[in-house]
């Protein structure tokens, strides 16, 4: 563990706060979405984030992507404070975020084209990742001709082809049917195993949170705070056999559910009164 002591973390958050104003109006109501988040994400770690809906998961991820500006605190990516989106971070969106007027290949080359990569280099890189997610037969298809699972594979290929070493994923499999989702979890684990990218992965699915993660970040409901960071002590690689049968899986899952359940019950009581 000597090496990791000196290694720069992938992402560090220090006292990150975010308030939303509900309209342009200066005295409009405000919502405190994140209330002082401190978090250090190690290089190459697979972190999943779970918490009641509306607790600020998306906001947190968007701040890490610099799509949203925070009000207070610091966001440090690989040792540098950031305020603009950068090529070291790539996002995978819940609703896939493909341009409907672009073909698969043009969607995947988009980040490279924007950054002025030579066309043939962009194409080769894109093709490599399109093949990797098994869509080589669909390079010239339009998104609407693909199933949800296939569209998200395109989203994944696009993020991978940027060469980013941090993947930011906001419920990427949330809109995909259960069986395809399992397949895609496997594929993602396989890719992660090969490349050891840092992955930050939001989910509302308890099983998914535990199955994928080195660590689970459990957030408490609004205003968003870090409630607990849970190490997941399960063997890798996890795509070759089902770790759901492992006793630690049940233990970690049970622990997280207890916490989450408390929040949900409280939330329901408050809504009722």
């Amino acid at each position: 563990m000597k090496d990791s002591d000196v290694e720069v973390p992938a992402i560090q958050l220090r006292g990150v706060r975010k308030t939303f104003r509900l309209s342009e109006d200066r005295n409009a109501k405000t919502v405190l979405a994140l209330d002082g988040i401190d978090l250090t994400i190690r290089k190459g770690e697979f972190l999943t984030i779970i918490g009641p809906s509306g607790c600020g998961k998306t906001t947190l991820l968007r701040i890490m992507a610099s799509l949203e500006q925070h009000d207070e605190g610091e966001v440090i990516v690989e040792g540098e404070p950031v305020s603009e989106p950068g090529i070291r971070r790539a996002m995978v969106f819940q609703t896939f975020g493909l341009f409907p007027w672009k073909t698969v290949i043009d969607n995947v080359t988009f980040p490279l084209t924007v950054r002025k990569f030579p066309a043939d280099e962009a194409r080769n890189t894109a093709m490599k990742h399109i093949r990797r997610v098994g869509l080589e037969r669909f390079v010239d298809a339009y998104p609407h001709q693909l199933s949800g699972g296939m569209q998200q594979r395109v989203g994944l290929a696009r993020a991978l082809s940027t060469g980013a070493d941090i993947l930011l994923m906001d419920e990427p499999f949330g809109a995909i049917d259960a069986q395809t989702r399992e397949l895609m979890q496997e594929e993602l684990l396989r890719i992660w195993d090969e490349e050891r990218k840092t992955v930050i992965f939001i989910t509302h699915d308890l099983d998914e949170a535990v199955l994928l993660a080195d660590r689970v970040l459990l957030m408490s409901r609004g205003p968003g705070r870090v409630r607990e960071l849970i190490d997941v002590d399960l063997p890798h690689p996890r795509f070759e056999y089902d770790v759901r049968g492992h006793e630690n899986f049940a233990k970690v899952r049970g622990h997280i559910w207890q916490q989450l359940r408390n929040d949900l019950v409280q939330q329901r009581e408050e809504e009722a009164s």
């Binding site: 989106p85 996002m91 924007v114 339009y142 609407h144």
Partner: protein, 251 residues
């Protein structure tokens, strides 16, 4: 109804046209009054005459030039106004009633005003075309840009697109393109009407002028022979835009 193949549709249209022309020809011959209803063959003869004399070509060139200039000016003006109205609620509510009124007013009613303010020269005729065509473009730009594709703008930003202008043309305008082209198609149809109005009521000229002058000489066969290319012009321009629309549309 069962769906028809392209070839079947084409066949139906040709059969329909043949029946239509035969009925016309027979009716015209039975009636025997060239002033009221010239026969198809008489119209074709008049058309051949107009082509041979070069009259039709000159008139078409003049009309097409007026139409093109008018539509370009309408597009530029429509974009500026549409973008303004899409950005600002105040501008929207201030300007909307006037543009709705303009849309509902027959262009022909505005001809006397154009004549007084701008004269009957080329600028005046262009203005008549613009009055007919600008509103659909403005409305389509406004609605196209108002439906902000927020998610896709975020996607573009996250992958390194910076600056409002880049986001505008890489995402917002591209996403709005189907709506914009539908507006342009509508505008082109109205533009043809505006063009004919300008050429018949502002000052005789082009294809509209041809129709009007042959009409006042009661040469009905020549009137029909002039109407035909005008309709074809309208159909052609609308179908060209329709073709581009289909090519750019992703579904």
């Amino acid at each position: 109804m069962k769906k028809r193949s392209k070839a079947q549709v084409r066949r139906d249209q040709i059969v329909g046209l043949v029946i239509f022309l035969s009925v016309w020809e027979i009716a015209a011959r039975l009636l025997g009054n060239k002033l009221v209803l010239p026969s198809v063959s008489q119209i074709l003869a008049a058309l051949g005459d107009l082509i041979a004399s070069g009259e039709l070509i000159t008139a078409m060139a003049e009309s097409i030039w007026l139409l093109i200039v008018g539509l370009i000016v309408s597009t530029i003006l429509g974009f500026v106004l549409g973008a303004l109205v899409a950005r600002s609620r105040t501008a929207y509510w201030m300007l909307n009633p006037y543009f709705s009124a303009l849309f509902a007013t027959p262009t022909i009613a505005l001809v006397p005003l154009v004549l007084v303010w701008f004269g009957f020269g080329f600028p005046g005729r262009v203005i008549v075309v613009v009055l007919a065509a600008v509103v659909p473009i403005m409305f389509s730009v406004a609605s196209g840009l108002r439906d902000d594709p927020k998610d896709l703008v975020d996607v573009a930003r996250s992958f390194g697109v910076t600056g409002e202008l880049q986001l505008l043309y890489r995402v917002r305008v591209r996403a709005a393109l189907p709506v914009l082209l539908a507006g342009l198609r509508l505008a082109a149809g109205r533009g043809v009407v505006g063009m004919a109005v300008a050429e018949t009521y502002l000052r005789l000229g082009g294809i509209g002028g041809l129709i009007k002058s042959y009409g006042s000489m009661f040469q009905t066969d020549y009137v029909f022979a002039s109407i035909l290319p005008l309709s074809l012009l309208g159909i052609a321009i609308v179908s060209v835009i329709g073709r581009i629309e289909r090519r750019l549309h992703w579904t």
